[in-house]
């Protein structure tokens, strides 16, 4: 198949449709608008497909709760403040064990923040922004091609685990154009959706989509079942990329757009003879703990580079358990780190830890 030049937001929509998503429920917010706009153009042309512009992000995520419960592949998208509003619904979706794909094209915060690219939703994505004991996969693509591949896979993963999956791209991923190829994805063996509310037809007991359990013993049992599922995700779904790690004295940890800048930084510092490498988390949850723990013996320091005031650094520190000093370099509010500043920070750290 040939490559097409596409804007990130539109490519995400095209990938979802290719993965069998026929229902989209959204609400306008910058910088993700091209995604719902794309779906509003395309879904009405698909048999049975529907696009609904909801009255709010809260309504949109609850429409997802309904559509997913009825057994459909469905998607919603938003950006940071809108994602905050969706957290209630995401908690219910996780609690009721429904598959859904939710895209966050994130922007600067807190509050209304700004509309420029940011990675300040790391905590919101990975810590469970809603109430209760729940987890969900978080894919963080660094290119539009990777975004397309991960969205397609996300639908299978969501169905497999009966759990929501978040795909997070900063505003850069949503807004820029890159060549993409829509490759046939490797399909997972998926269980039948015999739990979906498609009507009893008088032939079976009613199916109930629910997250309420008033008996604490029953609720604990449910939570333990969910935990086993999350454990399985931690064992099977962690994904990351290592870049020029061999003999590295400083290892950067960076994801999404920031990892692209950091990749250039690694090359530039290597050209200067400074031994650095990068670990790029592709799943933010589950976080690639083992990858961080397995940095080469030569590693003297870790540097988490983020478009935030320091969020992923917490996971880096949890992973390394104090064995190696871990530092943070970040720009926020929509400011994008420049290679020179990251290089300077790396040199400063290496000077200090020698």
């Amino acid at each position: 198949m040939s490559k097409t030049l596409m804007k990130g937001n539109e490519a995400l929509g095209a990938a979802a449709i290719q993965a069998g998503c026929k229902y989209f429920f959204g609400y306008p917010i910058t910088p993700q608008n091209e995604l719902p706009e794309y779906m509003s153009r395309e879904l009405p042309n698909i048999e049975g497909g529907a696009f609904v512009q909801a009255e709010s992000e809260v309504a949109a995520i609850n429409m997802i709760y309904g559509a997913a419960g009825a057994g459909a592949r469905c998607m919603t998208s938003s950006s940071s403040p809108g994602m905050a509003l969706k957290q209630e619904g995401i908690s219910y979706i996780a609690g009721a064990e429904l598959p859904a794909v939710i895209v966050n094209i994130s922007r600067g915060g807190p509050g209304l923040g700004g509309i420029q690219p940011s990675q300040a939703d790391y905590f919101q994505s990975t810590r469970g922004g809603g109430n209760g004991d729940y987890r969900h996969l978080v894919y963080a693509p660094a290119t539009i091609q990777e975004a397309v591949d991960l969205v397609m896979e996300a639908f299978d993963v969501a169905d497999y685990y009966r759990n929501p999956v978040i795909v997070i791209g900063d505003g850069m991923i949503g807004q820029m154009m890159e060549p993409v190829e829509f490759k046939e994805q490797k399909k997972r063996e998926l269980p039948a959706k015999d739990w979906a509310t498609t009507g009893t037809n008088g032939e079976r007991k009613p199916n109930i989509i629910n997250s309420l359990a008033l008996d604490p013993a029953e609720l604990e049992k449910h939570n333990q079942k969910l935990s086993r599922k999350y454990k399985e995700m931690e064992e099977k779904e962690v994904r990351h990329e290592d870049y020029r790690l061999e003999d590295a004295e400083l290892v950067f940890v960076a994801y999404g757009t920031t990892s692209r800048i950091t990749r250039n930084v690694v090359d530039a510092l290597r050209d200067e003879g400074i031994k650095v490498g990068m670990i790029r988390p592709i799943t933010l949850w589950p976080f690639p703990m083992a990858a961080i723990q397995n940095v080469p013996d030569s590693t003297k320091a870790l540097l988490s580079v983020e478009m935030s005031e320091g969020q992923m650094i917490d996971d880096v520190k949890i992973a390394i358990e104090g064995r190696i000093p871990a530092y943070h370099y970040g720009r926020s509010g929509g400011m994008i780190p420049v290679p020179e500043d990251i290089m300077e920070k790396a040199k400063e750290i290496l000077g200090g830890v020698k």
């Binding site: 309504a59 009893t200 989509i209």
Partner: protein, 249 residues
């Protein structure tokens, strides 16, 4: 020979309800269950339960059910109906759920003309949480958060949901009924049936507001509560049809 003179509708499960003695939720559940059976749609019905006294309604209706977050049932029903346009979808919501936290969802579902049916049970109080003031609580009515009686000056007038819904073009059927006595229960059933028929015909959104009681939180006996409903709620919330597809024909 034994003869069956009364049979529970197949529209309800055999589960014993948790409702307080004298509460009319049971009557309303029965009416909805009977209507689903009489219209022949029970097997392809999907209901959405609210948060409130009827939070466990998903255990009582004998069809596929969703339990929604507080106020979000119309959004959940929208998602279901868009996926299953040939199914019969309904929400069952109380006044705290629909008229307070879920006003945006109910208005916009009606506004879009979503083809599902809403059973709106108005008993002028938050029942499950222990008798707090609702948007529908009457002026002067005492509740745990209006201990001196609802004051218009600080809490506004009780919200008239049916009148509000009647202003929305997408709401094809809007009727307010009561279940304080047998003749009104019969009228309520007719309205519920019409509202579901409107959905089946694909005409648009339908809502039936059902005036109901709360002996527990009103602090009176079941019998007195029905009299109180008749004497206090109906004068403020007039019964009748506000919109029907036959209009203008």
């Amino acid at each position: 020979m034994m003869q069956v003179v009364y049979e529970k509708t197949k529209g309800l499960t055999d589960k014993q309800t948790h409702y307080c003695p004298g509460c009319t939720h049971g009557v309303i559940h029965k009416l909805v269950g009977e209507v689903l059976v009489e219209l022949g749609v029970l097997g392809k019905s999907v209901g959405v339960a609210p948060v409130g006294c009827s939070v466990l309604a998903y255990d009582y209706f004998n069809c596929d059910m969703h339990e929604a977050a507080h106020g979000r049932a119309p959004a959940v029903a929208t998602g279901i109906k868009r996926v299953l346009p040939d199914h019969t979808v309904f929400t069952y919501q109380g006044d705290g759920d629909l008229a307070s936290i879920g006003t945006a969802e109910i208005i916009h579902a009606a506004h879009r003309g979503e083809k599902f049916t809403t059973i709106f049970v108005n008993n002028a109080i938050y029942g499950m949480t222990g008798g707090q003031m609702a948007p529908t609580t009457l002026i002067g009515q005492k509740a745990t958060t209006s201990p001196y009686g609802r004051d218009k000056a600080t809490t506004g007038m009780p919200l008239k949901v049916s009148e509000m819904m009647a202003t929305i073009d997408g709401a094809a059927f809007v009727e307010r009924v009561s279940v304080h006595d047998v003749p009104n229960i019969r009228k309520a059933k007719k309205a519920i049936k019409k509202a579901f028929q409107v959905q089946i015909d694909g005409t648009g959104f339908g809502i039936v507001e059902i005036l109901s009681n709360c002996p527990t939180n009103w602090g009176i006996t079941p019998v007195d509560s029905l009299t109180w409903l008749k004497e206090n709620m109906i004068p403020y919330y007039p019964l009748g049809n506000f919109r029907t597809p036959e209009e203008g024909k």
